[in-house]
Amino acid sequence: MRSITLPPLAGGAAAATVVRWLKQPGQGFSAGDALVELEIEDALVRLEAAGAGTLTRILAQPRQTVRPGADLAQVTDSGTSQPPSQQPSSPSESHVTRQQPTAVAGTPANVTPILMPQAGNTMEEGTLISWKVAEGDRIQVGQVICEIETDKATIEYESPDEGRLARIVVREQETVPIKEPIALLADNDADADAYLAARGTAAQETTAPGAVAVSSAPGAAAAPSAAAQRMPSGPAPVTAGGRIKASPAARKLAQERGVDLSRMGAGRGPEGRILSSDVATAQVGASVAGDGQSVRRPMSKMRRAIGLNLQKSKQTVPHFYVRLTINAEPLFAYYRARKPQTNCTLNDCVVLAVGRAMAECPSVRSQIHGDEIVEFPHANIGIAVGVDEGLVVPVVRSVETLTLTQLAAETKRVVENARHGKLENIGHGNFTITNLGMFGVEEFGAIINPPESGILALGAMREAVTVEAGAIRTGRVMTMTLSADHRLVDGLLAARFLGRLREILENPSGELS
């Protein structure tokens, strides 16, 4: 008999209210079955069983509000328990409401833009995954024309209008903000191209009046729309002042993507002016042609997730750093002695020591959720593991309760699973350990993985000369840098925690037995 508890909630919601139980006492369930539905302010939470079992007793009744960590029900395990498959927020199907195209200033009546839809309140941009139709096709209202990936889900986008698809504006794998045209409906291509050209012009007029000097050379005044149809093959036109003619939107995009406008050739705007759409489509070719070496590719989901998470952490979590160098001789001796029976790594020894130190330090086994601190009963430690695409952090739970043998086995298991794409205990971690010692790095400071309290960065165990009681000594030392969230852990606490950790690590056979 054991309990299932409410995991930490997305977005740091402080509590959730039970809507209904999808399993009743006495009913069995298998891995992946939905057990209970709860609601938070703006979303539903569906808890799914990580393994098979039987629900024996419901502890949180419908309409009851519970906080993360609260017991929801009692269950008994049945059969073999499978390793939990982690789906923090698997993409649910969503249906996109029809978007009315918003009028763009000066829209020619015979061109209808299809816009990147806003599928959900938080969506700001979408990635075009694949087109289901081609230029020249006639499309119907409600016909699925493309697949779009949002920050949450991949959706099939149904055309809000009917007509002939004259131009695809956004290519596959490109990302654009919502309400930007992704394609144009028009009976003839010239209208569509004139529309694109006009958008470039409109952008110039509205965003930076007078910022771009437009050549007023006689004879070049009227740019016929026919001339704007095809990309001229010549070099990009240059103003009298030597500036390349490009719309401000194109300049911005070029800057963002590192495209060199001077290497781009003429654009599709009036008089060959470079438009943002030119930059968007020319990006790869332009940069490869540019220096022949650099390769441009979209960020993978993982890189983007790492980027967003750590950027948010660095910007919102008040980090501070405490560093300490320990005498690592006892630790090294302990590791050498225990290795044969336990199959542990040096890292495991440190993880265990951190777990024991955390057991005495509630602030460090905490998470921060909005204005609330959630204190965990156990030290749940994330272990940073480098993988091909980036970095994953599987979590080992209740570290302080494990023996070194158990910890070594459990760590090996979660790390192996992580390398194969199965992340365990995500969201339960209250602390992380990251180790670059094996690469000879002496010391470094790491970024906290929110909502955890801190992260400990381990440097290499290295030989050094130290002074002890006035005498010079040589031996192994190791530098550890704690990054702590000041909202949870003050300097004094951080120093005490590190001090206690040093005590354990400098006397492991006494403390870790």
């Binding site: 509590a15 809507v19 069983a49 927020s89 649910s92 959900g120």
Partner: protein, 476 residues
Amino acid sequence: MSTEHFDICVIGAGPGGYVAALKAAQMGARTAVIEQGNLGGTCLNFGCIPSKALLSSAELLHSVQNARKWGVTVGGEIGFDWSEITQHKNKILRQLRGGIASLFKGRKVTHLAGRGRFERAGRIVVTPGEGAPQTVTADKVIIASGSVPMRIPGWPTDPAMVCTSDEAVHWTSLPQRLLIVGGGVIGCEFACMMQAFGVAVTVVEMLPNLLPTLDHDLGAALLAIFKGRGITCHLETKVEQIEVVSGGTVVRTQLSSGAALEFDRVLVATGRRPNTAELGLDAAGVQATRHGFVPVTDHLETNVAGHYCIGDANGRCMLAHAASAHGVVAVENALGHAKPFTAPIPSAVYTFPEVAAVGLTEQEAREQGLPIAIGRFPIGHLGKAMAARHPDGFVKMIRHRETDQLLGAHMIGQNATECIAAATALLHKKASLHDVAETVWAHPTISEAIKESAEDALNMGLHLPPRKVIRAAVGG
């Protein structure tokens, strides 16, 4: 000096006092009401009514200027006649004042013109502008003296250059460049109106939101609309220095952001203070706060038995309709009932689009730690709004997740001030969100958004994508 005795004496004939007097008379009490100025108080003479008269012209002008959007072409020059607009305003003010006077007459309420001041509890001296003072005594007294706009100490006092809403609703000419200090209800209404009349408007607000007392999403939405119209808003900004220069024709200001700006006129809309300093509250033993507000019990009674305080002067809710509602309850209590005042009070902001709200904001619900769910519905999704080309705005409903009770409703959009009535009635009757969702709302209307957002808060919405579902594995 003659002394006349009444069952009830009301001090002030604004929307609180005149309604209290009528209610008292209706219930059979011999009633007097003391008013030194025009009947109708701030609401009728310096607030709600004159500003709405001006706004109606501003809104029409705004529509005509944008008529092309509706496929309507307007020939010739589009302009306005300020003197015509102010004449219409003055005419309706006269009409409404006359209306109150005849209501008083019809119910035999004695109107004592002059300034009232307590001599002691239950005894008031009324000093008219001309003529001899008169003393009245009353069994019960209702203080309804209202409030006046705050002026900022140390700022130029020339009311032609640095004004409050009292002067602004009666401007005989318009400035070219107007600074509005304060982005609350009054500041936003004037900003919207003056921009439509072609005035270059700058709003400076100390807090990070427009309409800071309302749900923050409303101020954010209004800010976006203002920006689109070219109204400049400086949030989290203070006016550090202000001086009248160029022979009294230009106001030079220095903002905390460092910007140095010049204006032709300044409207100070930073709030209102209770108009209680001259009432002689001490003589009656009625306690007031440091700021002059008179604290009252839930029955609207002050610390002195038989003395009640309603409306702006008690500081509970400084809105005309709150004062009127207080007035009725205070009179009922004065005449022997024991009725606490509990009704929810809606707020209405007459910008275009309008803003309206009732009940708890999201921020208040959070502070109280209530388990809430939030429902939203964009007004732009409604057929009526699309057809009428008024797609801006949304409705937001706050629901108690455990009891399902409606806690608050917040709207921005065309007709919001009318639509909020439905939400207010439901909130007053302690409706659940299911009650709101089960009510049938006429189609096509803007108020359909109330039903839709209620359904969203219940995860039952049909015209929105399904709510986000967060999945998590447990029991591993």
